[in-house]
Amino acid sequence: MRKDQMTPKERMTAFAQGLEIDRIPCNPHMGVTMAPFIGITLKEYYHSAERMAELEIALFEKLRHDGVSVSATLRGVAEAMGSKMHYPDNNISLLLAPAVNSVDEIESLKPSDPEKDGKLPLVLKAIKIIKDKIGDEVNVGAGLAGPFSTAASVVGTENLLKWMLKYPKKVHTLMEIVTESNNRFIEKAAELGIGVGFSDPVSSTSLISVKQFNEFSAPYIKKSVDKMKSLTGRSISIHICGTSKGIWESVMDTGVSSFSIDNVEDLAEAKKIMGDRITISGNVPPVDVMQKGTREDVLRAAKECIKKTYGSKKGYILSSGCQIPMYSPMENIDALMDAVRIYGSYPINEELLFSEE
């Protein structure tokens, strides 16, 4: 295993320009579920910018992964728009009551203010702390829910899905307001000089059709991508949980820079369909491998991912197929990082990578 030759910042800067790098980047999908790593509850994490920053910095010092970010969570923008959350001591936050309960209330929704509403100010503050502390070594970013997923937490997922059929115009109004909320956050991110990544589970074809994605989700992803590009020249990355193959073309057409793919989809297919146009990321199984597997299981799964995406034109970033579950052993996350140092160091040792065990 070779030691890293570049800092994560140097590596990702070169990677973005298509220049030579020392190894394949690796960015485990972490965040709140890692709170036990610094001995705090998830509830403490959610309510303190200092704790959010402390966790990310501690993880970076341990792992030296290729991007550090704080997520406004899947429900954060919805909370800022008036939805009520429940924060259990040691579990992910839950949507208690959506901001909107009938279609007629949509018109009166207001876009959120990232400097005032919900926990968004905490997220921005945490990012500033992190950037000051380790921003010279690693790119710092913010996570947001994709517009369709935010809308689901503003009106309730079941309502959103049904209203698309019964009140399509109202749903478009809702999507406009949600997108404005996202774009106001993106403006702040641009001012801070940080990246933005969308997580958009509700856009999965596990829930909606390709046609519905194209009508109600993709145009609004594109609006935020265009916003980010106009302000910074850089695009937005996206993660979609569940099945997504049917919408890969549409997702690429929104202009996102990279796509992190759930482990239910095949990276070899992803390379074939998307590799020439965008960076592919993913998709080591979070539960069966990252949480419940051994170090060897992680190395084997990571090697498989690197193998399947080998030679992908716009590059590949090793990651878990979704957020790493709570209480996954730190040894397994170490193993994920080691995998890029073993199998992903340039020039790639093809004999090793393609060897059968």
Binding site: T33, P88, N90, N91, I92, L94, L95, T157, E158, L161, K162, M164, L165, K166, T205, L207, I208, S209, Q212, C241, G242, P286, V287, D288, Q291, K292, Q323, P325, M326
Partner: protein
């Protein structure tokens, strides 16, 4: 209008999500003195089965299935009070819910809709269900199946707790335990000793039927 044609129209109205038409046709069936249980089975449920088929063929997705289910319920609300007597044969009974700590219930609702349409009696415990409640209700109603769902990795171990509690009470063999949800896999099902895992709602119904038959 003859019965056959009316059932056909009700079935189509469910598939097409036409609430008012279903209401009108179900009321008409009562005026024509057609037995309510027959209209339910051959009209409403036949329609919902067609919806299930369209979902399987990926013609319909969740938004359509959920909306059709609302249409179905409008019809059921009209007809159910007019069922003359409960069927006397022994229906399969399923207790279903989202495990404690999780409120994501769309997947569970979908399984419930499909299972009910297959003529199975479903006891829906809702979401964020205290773990012992799965067992208490199953005992109370004499259920055959305990079905649990979760979308979150933080709550999936609750499924194991339920199975362990069944073992402790020496009633594990009384029930078939089925699990499902985003982070769940066959591997996880094997690990915690669940009887079945299925990837979606249609599969779940098929599996319930094959398990009952065997």
């Amino acid at each position: 209008m003859n019965e056959e044609k009316l059932f056909q129209e009700i079935s189509e109205a469910v598939v097409e999500m036409e609430d008012e038409l279903v209401e009108e046709l179900c009321n008409k069936s009562l005026e024509l003195l057609i037995p309510a249980d027959k209209t339910i089975t051959e009209g409403l449920v036949a329609g919902m089965n067609k919806v299930g088929q369209l979902y399987e063929e990926q013609e319909y997705f969740l938004p359509e299935v959920l909306t059709c289910s609302d249409t179905l319920n409008i019809g059921l609300d009209i007809l159910k009070p007019h069922i003359e007597k409960e069927s006397t044969d022994n229906p399969i009974k399923v207790v279903i819910g989202v495990v404690e700590g999780d409120t994501h219930d769309i997947g569970k609702n979908l399984v419930k809709i499909m299972t009910e349409s297959a003529g199975i009696e479903v006891y829906d415990l809702g979401r964020d269900v205290p773990l012992e409640k799965f067992i208490n209700v199953a005992e109370e109603v004499n259920a055959n199946f305990i079905c649990m769902s979760t979308l979150m990795t933080t709550t999936m171990m609750g499924m194991k707790t339920v199975i362990d509690m069944l073992k402790q009470r020496n009633i594990r063999n009384k029930y078939k335990v089925m699990i499902g949800g985003g982070p769940i896999s066959q591997k996880f099902a094997d690990e915690i000793g669940a009887d079945a895992y299925t990837v979606d709602a249609n599969e779940a119904v098929k599996r319930i039927k094959t398990m009952v038959a065997s």
